[in-house]
């Protein structure tokens, strides 16, 4: 007897939705008939073609059936979602959080990665970084002659441009504003970068006093007028001619400026010497290589470059380049004034958002699996009626994908509505573009729905119908309970670790605030004196300010109390080697005003006439540098002869990231060749701050009718200095809430699973006389042990993270167990709360109900 070929039939079997289709029998019968009439070979050929021709019909039919089943499946899914509102809410809200966080982070990270890519020449533009070997400092600014020298000496360099940022008061007719970002640039600048001109001629960048302003600035100063050719005066001294209008700088540009001025202007302002020297880091230097240049060779040449005059000590300062595409991601360079985001923080956000999405997905998995008991009956009946395992699995998978899609819609709304707040938090300008972003997010959603649903789908569809219906199904598989428990442990590890880190960070921020010069009873106002004329009259100005009602105390100094950045050399009598020291000048009241204690000697005095010319006060570190306990009476030379009259205890005149450096202070006086004070600091009564400010402004106008009254509050300045830390703290706070929320969901799911599985057991225990609270303890004990394990695992993680973070501060808190204990207790409390809902319900239930629930 001949047997028909197997392959074609197998194909049909796969396609067919009805396995009992009579076709399969009939075609075989016909085959045997054909064998008799046509012979085996022709019969085989006939059979083959017959089956092949049947394929499209079977395929069509099966699609039709799937559609019918799909419709019914959707209906059932929606019914299920409606019936178990609580569960659906928890499930979907977890997914919403996970998806929203991921979407936001995606938008943010994509935006960050797009930085500076809009420059057409971006791949061949580099910034030159100087690495001072002695102090191990990387300078984003280089010496004045670097740009020109590189352009001449290195064949690879096509363009080179220096950038120097300055500020000032610009005035056009009646409109005057303080501008902080005027970039003085070389003519090559506009040839390298893609900052297109909306109007005007870039060639004017060669001429002194040529100004290019952004569209925004053009509107600010000139309203509707054509700005080209108009004259803007700087600090009422110099006249600039507007030679062009630049298109506004894209949001994703690290280089940010409002105006460009020609570098040759600085020649006139400061003299040629300043722009032609090999000392001092004054300029950012950008170079653009020839299109076919070998960047590796250029880098090699750069490394071997030695500043003229350094031949004896060639390793003093080395140079390297930084591709334009990467300047955004490296922060912490000295004298850097571009917009940066540390690449590590981008990684951190990416990892955290993926972890959160993972947790949300796993939560869905736990909760869906936990609900299995409720659905065993449905699954059993479906199977008996003829549902296949794969069909059922598809149905359950469909449910999770549907849940993910619902979550997706909600998270779109959520993302859209919190984007403005998020933008403010991250100081970015992100937008969600529906057309280009949706497909990606939708793909992610489907992936999450699939990944979260695959395990419950496999698990639920594998039930044996006979067992289910007879009620002998054991829902206790070792591996799946381990999965659930490890999920909860992971979530708590993360929650406790994040919480502990957050507590430490907040503690350090508190510590920074305490250590900084701040927290005075009354607000401290720092007024900046913007021009030489005013500085030469700082004493009468201060006196006038002190007359104003509401002003309690005042002092004058050459630097902002948090910004003593200038340094110089000091020569002590009897030593031939000079020392490096920070240098500032203050008046007699400064130490009292800022509450600085002198360990030895005295503060400056108005009554001692020699103080103005020779008195010097040093800080502890300066004295320690010279190995003196008490430096009073030592003579030195620093900007003129001097004698030490006092030693002040170390105070933090710069952010706490940096160790206190030697500091030398001189008496400030308008008679000194160094000029008067740049800052006047006032303590004002907190009762009527606005009123006092108005009076002060009037006083100011008597002295300087031209310049606006500019002030900052010391507290705000300090907050600004630690902005990165505050940002981290805020971000972590959001993540902590999310982590706690997700952990609670997970725990809630686990508890409801346990409770459902043990409904009968609880009933029987109660009948036998167990108390409510005995049952409560029984239900929570297990899970608490797991949470305990999580605590143990979280500690080293948090310790390591905090330890690494604290390294960036020269002054930091100790890592003590306090925050760990708080994190532990609060997470335990949260865990108990999350569990209690289901457990109390179960413990309080009437045993009659739980035993009759069959």
């Amino acid at each position: 007897m001949f047997v028909p070929p197997k392959t074609p039939k197998l194909l049909l079997r796969l396609l067919s939705s009805q396995k009992d289709n009579a076709y399969f029998g009939d075609i075989e019968e016909l085959f045997h008939f054909m064998v008799e009439t046509l012979g085996p070979n022709r019969a085989r050929r006939w059979y083959f073609w017959e089956v092949l021709k049947a394929v499209p019909r079977f395929a069509l039919e099966s699609v039709r059936w799937r559609l019918v089943m799909f419709k019914s499946a959707i209906k059932i899914m929606l019914r299920n979602l409606q019936r178990h509102k609580g569960h659906s809410f928890i499930n979907i809200s977890g997914l919403i959080i996970g998806l929203s966080v991921c979407m936001l982070m995606f938008l943010y990270i994509r935006f960050e990665l797009s930085f500076d890519k809009f420059h057409k020449n971006a791949p061949s533009i580099y910034r030159i970084i100087a690495h001072s070997q002695r102090r191990d400092i990387h300078f984003a600014a280089t010496e004045a002659l670097i740009a020109e020298t590189f352009k001449q000496d290195f064949s690879e360099v096509r363009y080179a441009a220096r950038v120097r940022r300055r500020g000032g008061y610009l005035k056009y007719e009646e409109r005057m504003f303080s501008e902080t970002t005027i970039h003085y640039v070389d003519p090559d600048y506009l040839k390298m970068f893609t900052f297109p001109l909306a109007a005007g001629d870039a060639n004017y960048l060669e001429e002194p006093f040529a100004l290019f302003i952004s569209q925004e600035m053009a509107e600010k100063y000139f309203k509707d007028k054509n700005p080209i050719g108009c004259v803007l005066s700087l600090n009422n001294q110099y006249e600039f001619i507007v030679r062009g209008v630049l298109a506004n700088i894209p949001d994703n540009s690290s280089i940010r400026f409002d105006m460009l001025a020609s570098m040759s202007t600085l020649n006139t302002l400061w003299g040629k010497k300043f722009l032609n020297r090999w000392i001092s880091h004054d300029f950012q230097t950008y170079v653009m290589l020839e299109p076919k240049a070998d960047a590796g060779r250029f880098e090699e040449k750069l490394k071997r470059f030695i500043i003229p005059g350094d031949e004896k000590n060639p390793k003093r300062e080395l140079f390297y380049s930084q591709p334009l595409n990467r300047i955004h991601f490296r922060s912490g360079l000295r004298f850097d004034d571009i917009l940066t985001t540390d690449y590590r923080s981008i990684y951190l956000l990416a990892v955290i958002s993926i972890v959160i999405l993972l947790l949300a997905g796993l939560n869905y998995t736990t909760l869906a699996t936990a609900r299995a008991t409720r659905r065993t009956r449905e699954i059993g009946v479906r199977k008996v009626v003829g549902a296949s395992q794969s069909g059922l699995a598809c149905q359950f998978l469909g449910e999770s994908i549907l849940a993910a899609l619902i979550a997706f819609i909600f998270s779109l709304v959520l993302v859209k509505s919190i984007l403005p707040a998020f933008n403010q938090l991250m100081s970015r300008n992100l937008s969600l573009s529906v057309l280009s972003d949706l497909p990606g997010f939708l793909g992610l959603t489907l992936l999450v729905g699939f990944a979260a649903g695959i395990y419950p789908a496999m698990y639920l569809s594998s039930f044996q119908p006979a067992q289910v219906i007879r009620g002998t199904l054991l829902l206790r598989s070792k591996s799946s309970s381990l999965l659930r428990k490890s999920l909860v442990v992971t979530q708590f590890v993360i929650t406790i670790a994040i919480l502990a880190c957050l507590l430490f960070i907040n503690k350090q921020i508190h510590f920074l605030m305490q250590k900084s010069m701040s927290r005075f009873e009354n607000p401290v106002l720092n007024i900046y004196l913007s021009d030489e004329d005013l500085r030469s009259r700082h004493e009468p100005l201060l006196q006038a300010c002190l007359q104003a009602p509401g002003v309690l105390d005042g002092t004058a100094s050459s630097h902002h109390p948090l910004g003593i950045t200038g340094g110089t050399g000091i020569n002590w009598e009897g030593e031939d080697r000079g020392h490096f020291t920070r240098f500032t000048r203050v008046d007699h009241n400064y130490f009292d005003f800022y509450g600085l204690n002198l360990k030895y000697g005295r503060a400056f005095s108005m009554d001692i006439s020699t103080d103005k010319t020779e008195a010097v006060i040093v800080n502890e570190t300066a004295a320690r540098d010279s190995l003196w306990e008490n430096p009073v009476g030592k003579r030195c030379n620093i900007e003129g002869e001097g004698v030490v009259v006092g030693m002040v205890k170390d105070f933090h005149y710069r952010p706490l990231h940096i160790k206190v450096e030697p500091l030398t202070i001189r008496y400030i006086s308008t008679e000194s060749f160094l000029g008067g004070a740049s800052y006047i600091s006032l303590k004002i009564d907190s009762q009527d701050i606005p009123g006092t400010l108005v009076t002060l402004e009037k006083t100011w106008q008597q002295f300087s009718p031209y310049f606006p009254f500019m002030y900052t509050f010391l507290d705000n300045t300090i907050d600004g200095v630690y902005r990165a830390e505050r940002q981290l703290s805020r971000n972590l706070t959001s993540f902590t809430y999310i982590a706690i929320f997700l952990a609670c969901l997970g725990l809630f799911g686990l508890t409801s699973f346990t409770v459902e599985r043990r409904t009968k057991e609880i009933g029987i225990r109660k009948v036998m006389g167990a108390s409510k609270h005995g049952i409560l303890i029984m239900l929570t004990k297990d899970i608490l042990v797991w949470v305990g394990l999580a605590i143990v695992a979280a500690y080293p993680l948090a310790y390591y993270a905090v330890h690494e973070w604290l390294k960036r501060f020269a002054y930091r808190i100790d890592i003590n167990p306090g925050p760990f204990i708080i994190a532990t207790l609060s997470s335990l409390l949260i865990a108990l709360l999350a569990m209690s809902f289901q457990s109390i319900k179960a413990a309080a239930a009437n045993p009659v109900d739980s035993l009759r629930y069959e």
């Binding site: 009579a22 076709y23 399969f24 009939d26 075989e28 019968e29 021709k53 049947a54 019909r57």
Partner: protein, 110 residues
């Protein structure tokens, strides 16, 4: 009244005509005989199943033979509503075709 497709009509007629032996192959043979066309075997099953769903036919499992690879036959029987719909369709085509022969003849003569 429901309009049947030509194939549905033929299948119903086949079931009616082969009477007690109406299963896949006999119906297929009937259609091949009457049309003289080499239609594929599979083409009869989907109209058959559709007619069963619509309630014009009912099916019953029959015996299986070794030649069928152990798979059972499926016999089809016409139902009352099947007879009704077939009659309606017959009347319909009859009235639709009325006079067409004359028109065709005159058209042919041109």
């Amino acid at each position: 009244m429901e309009l049947l497709t030509k194939l549905e009509e033929l299948v119903l007629i086949a079931v009616l005509k082969v009477k007690d032996n109406a299963y896949g192959i006999s119906i297929y043979n009937f259609i091949v005989d009457i049309t003289g066309k080499d239609v594929t075997v599979s083409s009869v099953y989907f109209p058959l199943e559709r007619l069963v769903r619509k309630g014009y036919l009912r099916s019953q499992k029959g015996e299986s033979t070794p030649k069928r690879g152990g798979m059972s036959k499926k016999y089809y029987y016409i139902t009352k509503s099947g007879i009704k719909v077939l009659e309606e369709n017959r009347l319909l085509s009859q009235s639709a075709w009325q006079g067409v022969a004359e028109i065709l003849k005159s058209a042919w003569s041109i």
